[in-house]
Every structure is written in structure tokens, then in C-alpha cells.
Amino acid sequence: MVTNWRIRYSRKGPAVWLAHLDQMRTFERSIRRAGIPVAYSGGFNPRPQLAFALPIGVGIATEDDYVDVKIDDQQNYEPDVNELWCRELNRSLPEGLEVQASRLVTDDKKNSLMSRVTAARYRLSSLELAKKVDRFQTRFNEDTWMVEKQTREKRSLQDIKPLILDIQTEGKHLVELLVCAGSQKNLRPELFLQLLKMHQFLSEEDMLETSITRTELLFAPQHMKVADTNIRDWVSGLDV
């Protein structure tokens, strides 16, 4: 039996600018400083075994992200160690990263966090963004929302409409986006802003200045196959 220590964490402030690999290294070192008995991989270059539910892009804050820390069961630790570890890790994380909640779970490869991520909620905010999105939704009646996607190797066009599950506007400035997330279908929220910019609903400067916060990660229930048709049915109130 292998134990995982499951952490729900947030990031803001300077930590928002870490790339995924930076953040992984930062968690590794923080966990070492906190003295948590993390398990290491084998091989020539053993690494602490951490599994993040979903990588997060540079410049995006989060209020609800998860990482599983594999615990070395060979080492002695008390069964009720969760609170202590949580306290110690929070004392060891750099500015902007914070553990919100944690618990010990049994590792089950078939139900890894990564494989169960299905959707993510983002809060986007910039000057009058809500008004601009409202205008976009009333005026832009296309069946496909094609956006130019730039990967390291090439540019390609992608229809992002099917990946957006819900758009809510709030007041003048706030927009909430519910999108597909995970290894099978994933939408980076920047692409939605890119679409607005392409069709002149948003200036380049406002696009760059829009702050993006991941507010919720949504997971498929255990032992359930992730299928996009029924995502809307279960996206609320799940226990991870």
C-alpha cells in the first residue's frame, strides 16, 4: 500500500509567475525543508514523487489546485500527522504559495488526480471585460470559434467553442469561464481572450492586462470514465 498526501493549494503574488517546472522544483524543495518523508523515484537521477493535477500557465493565479505527494511508507510517521505536515509545509513555502487543505489518501493509479481532471473554472478580470464579453456574445454568432494556436513547433487553427462549457459575466469587469481541462481536452483561458482580441472586442493591451485566476478544478467521480457529454451534469459539488 502506498500513501499519498493530497494537498489543495493556492498561488498568488510573485508565485503566479512560476512556470510549471519552476513550481514543481519549488514544491520539491519546500517539502524537503518541511521534513515531509516524500518518496523518491529510482534510477540515476532520483526525484521526489509529486503529481500535479493540472499544470498551470505562467501568469495565472489559482485558488484551487491539487498535488499528490507520494509518501515513503518505509519511514516512520504518526497516522495523525496531516495537520503537522500542513503547518510545516506552509512555513516552508515561498511567498504566494499556500496549502489550503490536505489529507492522506491511498494511492490508486487508476484514479490519479491527473486522469480525473475534467474541467476548470477561471475568473478573468480587466477594465470592462464583462461588458466586452456580453457584447461579444450578442454580436458574434459563429458556429465555430477559430483561434490561432501557437505551439513551439507550429501555428494551427483550433475551434475553442466546444471546449467552453459556460460563460458568466458579473458586473462590468468580471467574467467566469468554465472550460474543459485535463489531458484529453484542455482549454487555456488565454485563448478565449485571444478570440476576443482577434474580433476586436478586446485590445491587445487589455488582453495582456487581464488577470486570470483558476477558481476551481473539477474532477470526474472515482471510477467514472470521463466523457464530455455528461460533464455539465456533475460539475458541481464533488468531493476530491
Partner: protein
């Protein structure tokens, strides 16, 4: 003092590469509550974050200064060109990472000068900060701009831009300077404080150099006639400072742990300062004498503290020649024992080639395998004798035999081209040496060697440095170096050797600046004004900008780089005393020309002059 932090918007940070470099917030970085009597020191590294954060002087001084309740040391690095452009567009001044305070608001702005090709970056950072570049243009409202690091041993090309410099090891000097500053400005800088009185008093502190208090006179042939203090109160000679006892000095028990990957992303232990070897091309080997070691207990304790406070899983050993550490065996045994079970690995750089050190490499790489690096520096024994690099071909081949048996399939070999007295033959011998390694490899039974041989040969261009026996020597002409590089390139074709060589263009300018005088200040500023920065980055370096600016001011690169200097010539840095005497250096130069070697310090004392510091191995420590 009123301080408005700069505002870095999301849009700005989203528009630049690696924004984590510009926001601070790293583990063990220090913030302090502001008060009027707090001395604020900005430690600046004139290159990008990833390089600057790997510098151990930064980590040591940051720690020391922040231990003082009356001082807050923060950091600043050269922004990459994309960030610089946006900062200029949006009128964002250069700021400190910790509090995002514009550098112009600091009491002190300190630059560590690690290589000459960072000079244009210093000027660019001052300009971005809105601090007048010229000492003569600064007023009481401006920070004091101070230099340190090895390049400060010949600060002359940058003399116009620094109010003062700390010569040698800065740990003690910098504290004395802050104490003096406190006397002058007990409640922070005012617009009426007497800056020039402060500088005069600072010049009386041993190891402090205030360039503006010295006048340089030139002869008709352009060489220096004299370097004169302005009056009798200014010391004519500035002797460097050292920390006499490394065991009793305050050493960091914590390091800033970067959030984004840097060049040397590990904790490191300083085994000793100075080097006993006396390689004649090596400036560090001369200016950091005498050798002073740190004890095993001190290092082991520091390692434990650093491992705990940083979370690093790799520990490096820092020195100019690790295998010359007298207790290397017991240190590595101790460290490996205390790291065991923590998945912390030990990496061993700059080792000499013998069975003992290879055994250590294997121990060190018990959790992680690192590459082998050897630096024979020259291809023939004659030329290695010229530079006093006491490695034989036999040493190299024995080490490679052990390495192949130990599972390594090759090594990186470092050489220099253009060394004094070098001929085409010497350059060819570099290739012959790799042939011998190849023959050795093929001669081993298959069971005793790894499957594919892979050698890497790198050649740098030799640059004569001040305070070394070769300070009188000319740099080899570009066309000669180029010919030898091209020869080697051809020679390594279809061999299991990867050949890297450094272009001579920037080496020429490095040679110019390394032994330059004060007249180069105008040239450096002119080059900067053309928009040139990051000269140490090959794709940013433009030779023509330098040559044009030299011409504009009536100066000739060959005068500085390609001229053999006379024994009696006054060097632009002759008022800076590193302990090692000119007489010793010249003796060494003459021996070099006759290919005669000099024994290392532990075997025999060669009367270099470093005993004047009354410490270290000169006195059997």
C-alpha cells in the same frame, strides 16, 4: 526618504520571457520594515538573474549585510533586452527585487565585477536607474556607487563611473564602510550631506579605492607616466583586504533559493580561498593569495544548516582547485555520510587527475552521475611548463584509463589557444593528445570500456590579465588564433571529438579592457550609447562598435592587447597591491619564456609576497 515601489503590471510581466526573474519573493530573501536610519544597499549583478544568482559573493554579502539590524541589502540584475525595452517605454526605473524600490533611492548601489564584458551592462543599469553614470555628475542626492569583485583589481577603464571600490575580499571592508556611512548619515541621506568628505574618509579604510582621488598622467608614447594621489592624505597604494581566518568568519547558514532555475542551482561550500598552484595565466590564482582553508567541522556544520534551510538536494564544493584541499578525503566521507538517506548528492568540480579523485567522483556520483572535466590548457609539455600547469600526458592517460574502467565514456577537455610562445606545433599537439586517448580507448578490452567514445575539446582564446606573470605579454594576433582554430576544426573532422572554440572577437575586447587605462571610460560609454549591452553574450557582441569608438577617441586596440610591455612600464593598476609583488610576477614571466616551472606553495615558497598578510598556508595553517 520617500519611496514609491515600481508598479509591474500583469501586462508587462506577460510580455517578457521568464518573468519570475523580475518579481522576487524567493525563499530566504529578506524584507525589513522601513525606518529613516536604515541603510539601504542594492547589490547589483550586471548580467541576467540566472547568472547573478549563481554568484557566491552575492549570497555571502547579502547574508552579512542583512545580519546587521541597521542595514537592508536587496538585489537587482540586468533586465533582459525585452524587459529593458518595456521598462524604457513605460518609464519604469531599475528597481530592487525585494521592495521594488527604484535604485536611485538607495544609499548604496554596489556592483560585483566578475568579467570585463559586463561593463556596458553596468552603465546600462545605472542609466535605467536614473543614476548619473559619471562620478563627477553625482550629487548628495544620488547613491554611492561601489564596485567589488576580481575585475576591481584593475578598475581603471571604469574609474569614471565608480565613486569607490572594495579591493579584495569585501566581508570586513563593506561593514566598515557602512559604519562610516552611519556616522555621516545617522538618519538617512540628506541633500546636504558631505559626500566628498565621506569619500576621503572612506579612502583611509584599508582596501578602499576612491578613483577620483587619483590623477593619472600619460607619457607621449601613451603609456602611464604616474598615478598620483591628489594630496598627502590619500594613500598612494591600496592594498587588498583578505579574511584571515575562514573558520571564524560569519558564513551564511541560509541562501536565497530561486523560484526559477539558475546556472548553479545548488548549495556550495567554500573549501578554501586562494590557490597554491601558481598557473601563470590565472588571475584568481594570484589575486586571492595566500591560500586559506576552511576546516572540515565548519564545512560540515554549514552543509547541515544549508541543507535544512534551502531544501537543495545537491551540494557543490567551491574552490580554485578542489583536489588541493588538504582534507578532501575526510570532508567528502563526512558529507556523504551526513547526506545519506536524504537523497542529497555531492558534486565535485575542478579535480586533478589521479586515482584518488576519480574514486571520489564515483562516490560523489553514487546518486547522480556527472561528467568528467579536465583542463590540460595546452597541448605540449613544453607549453604546459610555460604556463606552469603541472599536468603531464601520462597523468591524463592514466586518468582516462581509470575513467573508462569506471564507466565514463569520455571527458571534456579544456585548452587555451594563443598562449605566450605557442606555435602551430603546440596547437596540433592538442589533437595528438585526443588521438592518444582514442588509441588508449581502442586498446582496452571491450569489457573494460563503455560502448561509445565521446570527447569534447574546447579552446578559449588566451587573454593576458593584470596581476599575473603574463601582464607584460602580448595577446596573440587574431589571424594566428583563427588559423589554429580552423586547423583543429579540420583535424577533428570524422573523429569522436566535438570541438568548441571561442570566437576571437570578444576575446580581443576582453584583452583591451582587462589591461586598460582610464582613457577607455569614454570608449565604454560611447559603445553603450550605441545601444550595445550584454557583451558577454556572443549574439549581442558587436566588434565594430568597439573598434569605431576606439577610433573616435584616437585609441588603438593593439596598443592595449598586442603590445609586449616593458619591465619598467608603469601599469595602469600599479597602485593596487594584491600582495603578490611585481618583482615576483616578472621573475615568473621570465621563467615562463624559458619554459621553467615553479613548484606550488605547499612544496616550496617562491617568495611571491603574499606572506605580507600574515596568514594562511604561508604560516603552516
Amino acid at each position: 526618504m520617500k519611496t514609491e515601489p515600481v508598479n509591474l503590471t500583469d501586462g508587462l510581466l506577460r510580455s517578457v520571457t521568464k518573468p519570475a526573474r523580475y518579481v522576487g519573493g524567493e525563499w530566504n530573501s529578506v524584507t525589513k520594515p522601513l525606518s529613516s536610519d536604515l541603510v539601504r544597499f542594492a547589490f547589483c549583478f550586471p548580467d541576467v538573474y540566472e547568472i547573478g544568482m549563481s554568484n557566491s559573493a552575492l549570497q555571502i554579502l547579502y547574508y552579512l549585510l542583512n545580519q546587521r539590524p541597521d542595514t537592508w541589502c536587496e538585489r537587482s540584475f540586468a533586465p533582459w533586452t525585452d524587459m529593458e525595452q518595456l521598462m524604457r517605454e513605460k518609464n519604469i526605473p531599475l528597481y530592487s527585487l525585494e521592495s521594488r524600490t527604484p535604485l536611485s533611492q538607495f544609499d548604496w548601489v554596489g556592483f560585483t565585477l566578475q568579467y570585463e564584458l559586463s561593463f556596458t551592462n553596468v552603465l546600462n543599469m545605472l542609466d535605467l536607474a536614473g543614476i548619473p553614470q559619471l562620478t563627477s555628475e553625482r550629487s548628495a542626492e544620488d547613491p554611492l556607487v561601489v564596485a567589488g569583485g576580481p575585475v576591481a583589481f584593475n578598475l581603471e577603464p571604469m574609474a569614471d563611473f565608480f565613486d569607490l571600490a572594495v579591493i579584495g575580499e569585501a566581508e570586513e571592508t563593506i561593514e566598515e564602510l557602512i559604519d562610516l556611512y552611519h556616522q555621516h548619515c545617522p538618519n538617512g541621506r540628506t541633500s546636504t550631506w558631505d559626500r566628498s568628505a565621506f569619500l576621503r574618509q572612506a579612502a583611509a579604510i584599508p582596501g578602499v579605492y576612491v578613483p577620483s582621488l587619483y590623477a593619472v598622467v600619460y607619457k607621449a608614447d601613451q603609456t602611464v607616466e604616474a598615478i598620483r594621489p591628489l594630496d598627502g592624505t590619500v594613500p598612494p597604494i591600496i592594498q587588498k583586504r583578505i579574511v584571515k581566518n575562514l573558520n571564524t568568519m560569519k558564513r551564511p547558514d541560509q541562501l536565497i533559493v530561486p523560484n526559477t532555475e539558475i546556472v548553479h542551482d545548488r548549495m556550495s561550500l567554500e573549501l578554501f580561498r586562494g590557490c597554491p598552484r601558481g598557473c601563470r595565466f590565472c588571475q584568481a590564482g594570484m589575486i586571492y593569495r595566500p591560500v586559506r582553508e576552511t576546516g572540515v567541522d565548519t564545512l560540515s556544520k554549514q552543509a547541515a544548516a544549508l541543507e535544512q534551510s534551502t531544501g537543495y538536494d545537491e551540494c557543490g564544493l567551491l574552490s580554485l582547485s578542489t583536489s588541493d584541499y588538504s582534507q578532501l578525503g575526510s570532508l567528502t566521507d563526512r558529507l556523504l555520510e551526513q547526506f545519506s538517506g536524504h537523497h542529497t548528492s555531492l558534486s565535485l568540480p575542478s579535480l586533478r587527475l589521479d586515482s584518488f579523485t576519480l574514486e571520489l567522483m564515483q562516490k560523489g556520483s553514487s546518486t547522480r552521475k556527472s561528467g568528467l572535466t579536465f583542463a590540460p590548457e595546452a597541448g605540449t609539455q613544453r607549453l604546459r611548463d610555460v604556463i606552469n600547469k603541472n599536468i603531464t600526458e601520462q597523468d591524463l592517460l592514466e586518468a582516462m584509463t581509470l575513467a573508462f574502467k569506471g564507466g565514463w565514456n569520455g571527458a571534456k577537455l579544456y585548452f587555451m589557444l594563443g598562449l605566450p610562445t605557442e606555435t602551430d606545433m603546440d596547437a596540433q599537439a592538442i589533437a595528438d593528445l585526443t588521438d592518444s586517448i582514442e588509441t588508449l580507448y581502442r586498446g582496452l578490452p571491450r569489457s573494460d570500456r563503455p560502448r561509445r567514445l565521446e570527447l569534447t575539446v574546447s579552446t578559449a582564446v588566451f587573454i593576458p590579465k593584470p596581476h599575473t606573470p603574463f601582464q607584460w605579454a602580448p595577446q596573440e594576433l587574431p589571424e594566428v588564433v583563427n588559423k589554429r582554430q580552423q586547423f583543429l576544426k579540420e583535424r577533428f573532422r570524422n573523429r569522436p571529438v566535438k570541438y568548441h572554440y571561442h570566437d576571437w572577437h570578444s576575446s580581443l575586447i576582453e584583452a583591451l579592457l582587462a589591461r586598460g587605462d582610464r582613457r577607455l571610460g569614454a570608449v565604454i560609454r560611447d559603445v553603450w550609447a550605441k545601444g550595445q549591452t550584454f557583451d558577454a553574450w556572443d549574439d549581442h557582441f558587436k566588434l565594430d562598435n568597439w573598434l569605431d569608438s576606439l577610433e573616435k577617441f584616437g585609441l588603438d586596440v593593439s596598443f592595449y592587447a598586442h603590445r609586449e610591455r616593458a619591465e619598467a612600464e608603469i601599469m595602469p593598476w600599479d597602485h593596487i597591491d594584491c600582495g603578490v609583488t611585481s618583482a615576483f610576477l616578472y621573475r615568473e614571466y621570465q621563467k615562463a619564456l624559458k619554459a621553467k616551472t615553479t613548484p606550488q606553495c605547499r612544496i616550496a615558497c617562491s617568495q611571491c609576497g603574499a606572506t605580507t598578510f600574515e596568514g594562511g598556508i604561508c604560516f603552516g595553517d
